[in-house]
Amino acid sequence: MKQDARVELRNVCQYFVTKTGVVQALGGLSFALEDGEFVSLVGPSGCGKSTCLGLISGLSSPTSGELLVDHVAVGGPNRHVGYMLQKDLLMPWRTILDNVSYGLQIRRVPRKEATARALAGLRRYGLDGFAHRYPRELSGGMRQRAALIRTLLLEPEIVLLDEPFSALDFQTRLVIEEDVRKILSRERKTVLLITHDIGEAIAMSNRVLVMTNRPGRIKAEFTIELSSGHDSPLKARESPEFSTYFKQIWQELDINVGLDSATNDNIH
């Protein structure tokens, strides 16, 4: 057992029953997240990245293998784990304020206190002018930021991000990446980012894990050391080491562009 591991997966296998048969999503996945680390998980789509996130957040349990959060086997949703998805999942019928306080409300925090904390969160991350607007009135980037505030208000120590930026346009994406990285490292969160964007993975993380095709397991691991440091994903993209890592990870992903259309379909 690793001493300071917040999250640890040991030889995790996961099977799904579908209409056509049983599919193995994970085939002996093992890795650990240490306290305060920002780790990215990249891999071809359908390799079981999101399955892995569902397991850590306690929404489903592994068919076999061990899954520990803070050295305890996961047996359901855990209040130390928060997650954020590609879709912002803001409820169209709630105002931004009510959306942001939704998690607190589900956890039965008294309404007054929940509202006060939500307002403070909105103020802190620059959305207080939109507290009483509905989600449809906000841009994609602002909505995603509101979703992040909803996650952070629950004070999770471990944050799981499942391609949270992939629906945003490129400029917005760079800005939000910068925001999220700053906020999460300031608050010393342990983060697992799932992405298919190699550049995003390198720019944001301390470590990048590469997964194989289904059934997924870890194929390669890269510790990212950039001369610019890790505070700014924007600057990280300009580091001299960036393109070296990019090439290495690209090779590991083994994407045969144009050679094999069947594998090509699996890449975004």
Partner: protein, 283 residues
């Protein structure tokens, strides 16, 4: 080739002013002018239609017995207003519709949404719903006539059954449209099944239910009128049938006019309710 493409006429647009306030004012004035024109056209069409009808009956040889006559429709309305029968007939139909529709709607929505709690029950009821959906509900009238007699409760039962079924089917269909990821989000936050139901399932079904309520106005009034056709001595349905029996087409038209007004009033009430319940929707 290139020479044949017309040049954009950059010089032809000249704004009278560059002051934004004045531009906005000018724009609004144009819009208001157009709206006035629209209303004028609508009024003209209405007056022309009614005028032509009146003139054709008076001087064109069209028989009043078969088509009625606008001035006589107005006479009927006025005299029914004076002897209070207008209010009495309208009230009875409105009361039947309201009691039947509201109770049918509440029951239908509750039963439909309850299906969310039991997947096996939902699947078990699936064929029943297909049958009920295709059944013309009016066909049930004789049964209610036997069960409830010829009075108020027969009409209420007829309306209630129709409205209940439509709302129930809509609510059941709305359940399938709930965002699975929102359910998952609430589960991941540690929400109970009741919290998921209250915070996700109910609000996301609400727009569907409001649409069902709008549809139900028509079905409710149909139920009331048909019920009154079958057996009644008051109500708008009775008025319509009575008018036809005594060959007074203008009385029939007066009844239809009252029905239209009632239906519109009900529709606007639901629209108001919608704005109050669903402020987050774009109008």
């Amino acid at each position: 080739m290139l020479a044949s493409i017309p040049r954009p006429m950059t010089t032809s647009i000249e704004l009278a002013t560059s002051d934004p306030d004045a531009m906005l004012y000018e724009h609004r004035r144009k819009l208001a002018r157009e709206t006035r024109k629209v209303v004028l056209i609508q009024l003209a069409l209405l007056i022309f239609g009614i005028g032509a009808w009146e003139l054709l009956v008076r001087f064109g040889g069209v028989r009043e017995l078969l088509v009625g006559q606008p001035t006589r429709v107005a006479d009927h309305i006025v005299s029914m207003w004076k002897d209070h029968s207008l209010v009495r007939h309208t009230w009875i139909t409105v009361a039947e519709t309201l009691v039947g529709s509201v109770s049918g709607f509440v029951l239908g929505a509750a039963c439909g949404l309850l299906l969310w709690w039991s997947k096996p029950l939902e699947r078990a009821l699936d064929p029943v719903m297909v049958v009920l959906n295709s059944l013309p509900k009016i066909a049930l009238t004789p049964i209610f006539l036997l069960w409830f007699g010829v009075g108020f409760s027969m009409k209420v039962a007829l309306i209630l059954s129709t409205v209940f079924l439509i709302t129930f089917l809509t609510a059941a269909a709305a359940l399938a449209t709930t965002d699975k990821e929102l359910l998952q989000l609430t589960a991941a936050l540690g929400g109970t099944r009741w919290q998921v139901f209250r915070n996700v399932v109910v609000p996301s079904s609400l727009p569907w239910l409001i649409s069902a309520a709008k549809l139900n106005i028509g079905f409710g009034l149909t139920g009331a009128v048909v019920g009154e056709f079958v057996a009644a001595n008051e109500g708008i349905g009775y008025l319509l049938l009575y008018g036809a029996q005594i060959y007074d087409m203008s009385l029939v038209w007066a009844g239809i006019l009252i029905l239209v007004v009632v239906a519109m009033a009900m529709y606007f009430s639901v629209a108001l309710l919608e704005r109050w319940l669903l402020p987050w929707r774009e109008s």
